[in-house]
């Protein structure tokens, strides 16, 4: 762990004295007032379980620190973004301008996250993204006050490209939804796969969020590639895996995907998903003490098994904590706080990681295989993989 608890007791005592002395005075010393964290996550809709997991992870870390980060208690201002990009700007604006939050935390959906990033940039509010993988959050939209503790869509895909090439496949068909996350994932895969000598012979897409895959499955069967790479998540992932098996393709043409294909979906996918190989920055069966401890704590506190989203939320709190401790809770020292966060070594349950220059995690990507209801780690597909952050104009 990178924090020690002495400063917080000192600070707590000082605040107590200050509070007594100031009496009826309105203004309190900034470091004693609670830190307002605007939690903008989906609490309704398809992504609700993800939002809840992220929030749980974040709160778990704060709880483990005795309820304080950098000496300050946390005031959560919750807002349900409903995964709706059209309301995203207003919602983020509300948190910043009306509720005057110090830090914005969110979100799952990339479109919403981009709107949040824009508001954060315009108002110079600190933003930590605990999931949305849109490459441009740490690409053209990168900023000193924007951090991400999850992944960029490129990362797991690039790692998978290397894996598939190493298995000897030469011709691959990709399939995904026609939206930013899907396109970025396919691009990452293609980059690694073609660099290793393979060829993506066809890039199929399905309009988002359509889940009718029959036509595309027929095309795949006709093309007879060596392997298929897909990016789907949530409902689409459940359906696709089942459809793929029902079309008889599972045993004929190996299917690979970014981890979201089998994350949170195994109960619904059942037998169709067994044995599938995916890549992600987290897996089941990691042997580190940190991960074991985290899982135990999480299960005890929330009576649920943690997933990659909970880990990302947990790490968001760790990152924020690193910044707060460095400035002893004084968020007005923004530059120092940002520097501390940039240099933080986050001891994550997924494995330790650092921040890239564009504020994205530089992390190991695991290759996992579905066994039962788990994505068990097989090997490390890519060690210390950093997103190339194309278009980011930060030094």
């Amino acid at each position: 762990m990178i924090f020690d608890s002495a400063p917080k007791f000192r600070l707590a005592f000082a605040s107590l004295v200050l509070a007594c002395v100031s009496g009826a005075a309105q203004a309190q010393a900034p470091s004693a007032a609670p830190l307002k964290v605007g939690v903008m996550l989906p609490f309704t809709g398809t992504y609700a379980p993800l939002g809840v997991a992220i929030e749980n992870g974040f709160k778990l870390y704060v709880q483990q620190q005795g309820g304080r980060l950098g000496g300050r208690t946390i005031d959560y201002v919750r807002l349900d973004d409903e995964s709706d990009p059209s309301k995203a700007s207003e919602n983020a604006s509300r948190l910043v301008k009306r509720d005057h939050v110090d830090v914005l935390l969110g979100t799952v959906h990339s479109g919403v996250a981009m709107a949040m990033a824009k508001v954060a940039k315009d108002t110079n509010t600190l933003l930590i993204v605990p999931n949305a993988g849109a490459d441009n959050v740490t690409g053209p939209l990168c900023a000193p006050n924007i951090f991400r503790t999850s992944f960029s869509n490129w990362q797991p895909a690039y790692a998978m490209g290397k894996v598939v090439a190493s298995k000897g496949a030469k011709r691959v068909v990709t399939l995904t939804w026609k939206y930013a996350a899907g396109e970025e994932s396919v691009r990452g895969f293609k980059e690694a796969f073609e660099a290793a000598g393979g060829k993506v012979i066809d890039e199929l897409t399905v309009p988002f969020p359509n889940v009718e895959f029959q036509a595309q499955l027929t095309q795949i069967a006709a093309a007879k590639p060596d392997a298929v790479y897909v990016f789907f998540a949530g409902a689409g992932a459940v359906k696709f895996v089942k459809d793929y098996a029902a079309a008889g393709l599972k045993d004929k043409i190996p299917l690979y995907g970014a981890g979201f294909l089998t994350d949170g979906t195994l109960e619904a996918q059942g037998d169709a998903a067994q044995g599938l190989l995916t890549t992600l920055h987290y897996a089941d069966g990691l042997t580190s003490a940190r991960d074991q401890g985290f899982r135990l704590d999480y299960a005890k506190t929330y009576k649920l098994q943690p997933d990659v989203y909970a880990v990302q939320g947990y790490d968001a709190a760790q990152l924020l904590g690193a910044g707060l401790v460095a400035v002893k809770g004084d968020t007005t020292q923004r530059d120092a706080m940002v520097r501390a966060m940039e240099q933080a070594k986050v001891d994550s349950p997924r494995g330790p990681f650092v921040m890239s220059k564009a504020h994205n995690p530089v992390q190991d990507i695991y290759l996992r295989q579905v066994k039962g209801h788990e994505n068990r780690v097989v090997l490390v597909a890519a060690k210390g993989l950093a997103d190339p952050a194309r278009g980011c104009r930060m030094n």
Binding site: P85, K97, A115, K118, P207
Partner: protein, 342 residues
């Protein structure tokens, strides 16, 4: 004063009071957020008023009006310079023009239908445009596009007012609202407006009287579309962000709701927009499942107040008048049955 001049005086004074209150708001509110909210109310009022022209004045119930709002917003997002401020008037004119063009093309197709068909095909065309910006290249896909600067008001390269300031932007929106209301008033008072009213009441009779009904409806559709596009443009400037959801049928349904709940007339549309925006803002704070309450409220209010809020107010007013007249023993002025709201 006779009944009608009294009504007109009442109406004129309430309009003036209302607009003055809106103009004075920035002085009284210091929070940036409240001002943004009121700004949004005004933008939605323009949008609702543009639909009222179709629904209330011409009898065209469109469930796809968000299409033009979205076109205006996207036209703005695509035309503003990446590094620098756009000219407000020029951009609004452009957005309005592009929306009008779309409205004419779509109108040529959908105005061939009426009744339930019209409702459905307008919905379908809005959905089609949704897919165009959602799947097409260059629009930013499902995540949308950004605008990086607020516009400026100026001419011939000189900037008079920079709208980056929240208050300045608010007053600019107010100015556009006043302009919109002015345009609509002129339209409705003209012969064209009277013809629209005739079409709403009895289309067959108008056709029999020799009016080119199709062209009138198309013109109304086009004007409504243009004004919706202007509202969309302002929306894009306010939030700096456009995405395909602006075309969604939820957006179309919401603006239709504003028009119906508000009641007849452009004042009704504004009232509806005000209540809708503030209510959804307040309710969403209250509970996670606020849409349940909202849905129930919609059902109940449409059922109980067929003439909307202003209709309800007018009905109360009329009922009070009738009661007073009865007490004075004077025969009450009869209000036609269709116009009685309660």
């Amino acid at each position: 004063m006779t009944f009608f001049t009294r009504r007109r005086a009442w109406s004129a004074s309430s309009w003036t009071l209302f607009l003055l209150a809106l103009a004075a708001a920035p002085a009284m509110l210091d929070g940036g957020f409240e001002l943004e909210l009121l700004s949004k109310v005004m933008i939605m009022s323009i949008f609702a008023a543009s639909l009222q022209l179709l629904v209330g004045c011409t009898g065209l119930v469109s469930l796809g009006h968000a299409a033009f709002f979205g076109v205006g917003a996207y036209a703005t997002a695509l035309v503003v310079p990446q590094a620098g401020a756009a000219n407000l008037v020029a951009t609004l004119a452009f957005a309005g023009g592009v929306s009008m063009l779309f409205a004419v093309v779509i109108g040529l197709l959908v105005l061939r239908t009426r009744g339930i068909y019209f409702i459905m095909v307008t919905l379908a065309f809005a959905q089609m445009l949704y897919y165009v910006v959602h799947d097409g290249k260059g629009f930013g896909g499902s995540d949308g596009t950004y605008l990086y600067f607020k516009p400026v008001v100026g001419m011939f390269g000189k900037t008079w007012v920079d709208l980056a300031d929240g208050r300045a932007f608010y007053w600019a929106v107010l100015a556009v609202l006043v302009f919109t209301l002015g345009v609509l008033r002129v339209v409705m008072r003209s012969r064209f407006g009277h013809a629209l009213a005739g079409i709403r009441h009895n289309e067959q009779r108008m056709t029999a009287s020799g009016y080119p009904v199709f062209l009138y409806k198309l013109a109304s559709f086009a004007i409504g579309g243009a004004l919706a596009g202007i509202a969309g443009s302002l929306y894009a400037f306010q939030y700096g962000f456009v995405n395909p959801e602006l075309f969604s049928w939820h957006q179309s349904g919401n603006v239709l709701l504003m028009v119906i709940l508000g009641g007849p007339g452009f004042g009704g549309a504004i009232a509806g927009a005000l209540v809708f925006v503030l209510l959804s803002d307040w309710l969403s704070e209250l509970t996670k499942h606020w849409q349940l309450i909202f849905g129930l409220l919609i059902i109940v209010s449409v059922a109980m107040l067929p003439l909307g809020l202003t209709g309800g107010v007018a009905a109360c007013h009329a009922t009070i008048e009738r009661l007073c007249a009865r007490r004075r023993g004077v025969p009450a002025k009869t209000v036609p049955k269709e116009e009685r709201a309660l």
